[in-house]
């Protein structure tokens, strides 16, 4: 009797499983369709797009649109392609991610291991940074950048993104370090380690998972940011997102959809790469703060 029940239980779950997989495949297809369209159309000549259908595989395979998007397309005054803007983005993202992560780690360390009067209130205020819409700070931020002499520079953008990111990185590291045993810090104090020695030698080496979370989060947000890039950068410091917009929105000449598609993929590649390389640590790190290892 019990065996029969178990059998039927397996059978129903198998039916449910098939349904679940079908649904998942459907959703996967739905989500991958745009990527397919982008990919397919970035490797065919323009004539095939204008004359044919978006879904069809190319008759003539070509990497010309990619080359054009990277180094020839008319983005600004010069026909430079997206290349210089790609490097602008890198020059902005790397320091911004690094600085905001380190500062977030330091904040988390102080807020959990060097408690002081009012630290929870301070942390609460820092959390506000996560909820302030970008648009609100545009004008005051422009004024500040002007005062600092950073208007229109890559370092100005780095500053903006660091300031905006600190709320998130502090939140991550504070919650991670809250579960980190305080006895370790005390032992290190007795061993004679100072504030920064404890940070560099004890705390940071044990923070792998949460560093990955912070880096992925910051990298994606900063790389994909358009508003700050469009507002605070000048021609020499515009990031990839702004350049892509300029490329696609340009109103002179023929719209080269294949080049646009290639450019869009180029703009999305770095974040994809970060996810593929570090993605599996992402979920692990997000859970590390809440569950004791």
């Amino acid at each position: 009797m019990a065996a029969m029940q178990q059998e039927s239980a397996i059978r129903t779950s198998r039916a449910a499983r098939v349904l679940i997989y079908l649904l998942l495949l459907l959703f996967a297809f739905f989500y991958l369709l745009p990527l397919f369209v982008m990919g397919v159309n970035s490797v065919k000549p323009l004539s095939e797009i204008t004359g044919g259908n978006m879904m069809a595989l190319p008759e003539i395979w070509t990497l010309e649109p990619w080359r054009k998007a990277w180094s020839e397309a008319q983005v600004g005054v010069q026909a430079t392609g997206l290349k210089p803007y790609f490097w602008n983005s890198i020059k902005m993202v790397v320091p911004a991610v690094f600085i905001s992560t380190i500062l977030g780690a330091l904040n988390g360390y102080v807020l959990t291991k060097w408690r002081f009067r009012g630290d929870t209130i301070l942390f609460g205020l820092m959390l506000f940074a996560c909820f302030i819409p970008f648009q609100i700070v545009l004008i005051p931020m422009a004024r500040m950048l002007g005062i600092f002499g950073l208007a229109g520079t890559t370092w100005g953008l780095v500053l903006v993104h660091v300031v905006y990111g600190i709320g998130f990185t502090t939140l991550y590291f504070r919650n991670y370090y809250a579960a980190f045993p305080t006895e370790l810090v005390r032992a290190a104090q007795i061993d004679g380690a100072g504030f920064f020695q404890i940070f560099w030698r004890i705390m940071l080496p044990s923070s792998g998972p949460i560093i990955v979370v912070s880096v992925i989060w910051q990298f994606t947000n900063i790389w994909n940011d358009f508003l700050f890039g469009a507002s605070f950068a000048d021609f020499s410091s515009q990031p990839m997102t702004v350049a892509l917009n300029n490329l696609v929105q340009s109103s002179t000449g023929v719209k080269e959809y294949n080049v646009h598609f290639a450019g869009a993929i180029l703009a999305a590649l770095p974040t994809l790469l970060v996810y593929v390389v570090a993605g599996r640590f992402f979920v692990r790190g997000l859970m590390a703060g809440s569950v004791k290892g």
Binding site: A187, Q189, I190, A193, I202
Partner: protein
């Protein structure tokens, strides 16, 4: 002046005073155990000695030097934590030498000091491992190694054995005692386990609610507890407390109570002091340890004063080496420690022997022992 002096030390958090005017003087080479229930302030006091917590008022001196406000690393102390607090990202060798490295000891010297400690604690084979790869007992040894390597003036132990299983705990207890005997360093040790306190210490400070209840050798604490708290906290099973009426009759002083079936029991007090004599006609609490309340054959033969009386056996609990027998006197449940092969059986009426030399008396209102 002792080696380590704690002089009217107090600690307050906001408006809550958690330590009240603590005075303890520890001699060189002493093994002082701070014992008490959780929340009694013993760990706070240890952290104050370590410099991890500020002293609100009073002084802590080490070898006559005032330690208030001195950074933990400059006090020449080492501490073993309950969780061991081994640095998870470092190997055992790095864990042990980290303190020396922070104090800028040359590498060759660090290496030889580490080898010496590794040999002493028999952890030579573990030096390249990470803490996560060690068992509880091994971690405990490494934590001790980290403390030993710095050759501190005072060792502080914060409940170091409470994370170990029962058998390992007993083994490590013996090792700590051996270590103390071999090295002769001064140790302050915090525990809530009264057996650890008894076995390890040269002196015990029993603490409760931020007060030192009694400071003395294990024997003093056990045989002459200063008050009811110390009497019941130390010892397992805890001391029997029987309400008795004092009856001073000329030279002799009697403590009167009743047995399980209501008969009056008259116990002659052994060498009654004047304070107890003056309590004649009043009810006091008689305290008697389970091992001083036995069957009539099991009474201590060296004792010069044993009183006997009959009572009903409630429950018998064979514990292997002894059998614990419960009964009641004066309405209070009492535990008697009898030989393993005692013939006491539940419901039987047998003779109990009181070793009156070991009996102590307390004022039931203040809880203080009557001399």
């Amino acid at each position: 002046m002792g080696f380590l002096d704690i002089d009217s030390a107090s600690k307050t958090y906001g408006s809550v005073e958690v330590l009240h005017n603590v005075n303890i003087s520890v001699g060189e080479g002493e093994f002082l155990v701070l014992v008490g229930p959780s929340g009694c302030g013993k760990s706070t006091l240890l952290n104050m000695i370590a410099g991890l917590e500020d002293i609100t008022s009073g002084e802590i001196r080490l070898k006559g030097n005032l330690m208030n406000g001195v950074h933990p690393s400059r006090r020449n102390i080492a501490m073993v934590f309950q969780s061991y607090a081994l640095y998870p990202n470092m190997t055992v060798a790095q864990n042990i030498t980290f303190g020396l490295e922070m104090h800028k000891v040359p590498k060759a010297e660090r290496e030889s000091a580490m080898q010496e400690v590794a040999e002493l604690l028999q952890i030579g084979g573990l030096l390249d491992r990470k803490p996560a790869q060690l068992s509880g007992g091994q971690r405990q040894r490494v934590a001790m190694g980290r403390a030993l390597v710095r050759k501190p003036e005072v060792f502080l132990f914060d409940e170091p054995l409470s994370n170990l299983d029962a058998k390992l705990r007993v083994d490590m207890r013996t090792e700590i005692k051996k270590l103390h005997q071999n090295l002769g360093t001064t140790i302050v040790y915090v525990t809530h386990d009264q057996i650890e306190a008894m076995t390890l210490s040269t002196r015990i400070a029993v603490m409760n609610e931020g007060h030192v209840q009694q400071l003395g050798t294990p024997k003093e604490i056990y045989d002459s507890p200063a008050n009811l708290f110390v009497a019941t906290f130390m010892g397992s099973p805890s001391m029997n407390l029987v309400p008795v009426c004092i009856n001073a009759n000329g030279e002799a002083v009697y403590a009167e109570t009743s047995n399980s079936f209501g008969e009056t029991v008259r116990l002659a007090v052994h060498e009654a002091g004047s304070d107890l004599r003056s309590m004649s006609g009043k009810t006091v609490t008689l305290g008697i340890r389970p091992e001083a309340l036995t069957d009539k054959d099991g009474a201590d033969h060296r004792s010069t004063h044993v009183e006997r009386c009959a009572s009903t056996v409630g429950v018998t609990e064979p514990a292997g080496s002894d059998t614990f027998v419960t009964t009641s006197f004066g309405g209070a449940d009492c535990v008697a420690r009898m030989r393993a092969d005692t013939d006491a059986s539940p419901g039987a009426i047998i003779e109990f022997a009181f070793n009156m030399e070991k009996a102590v008396y307390f004022d039931p209102e203040s809880g203080i022992r009557i001399g």
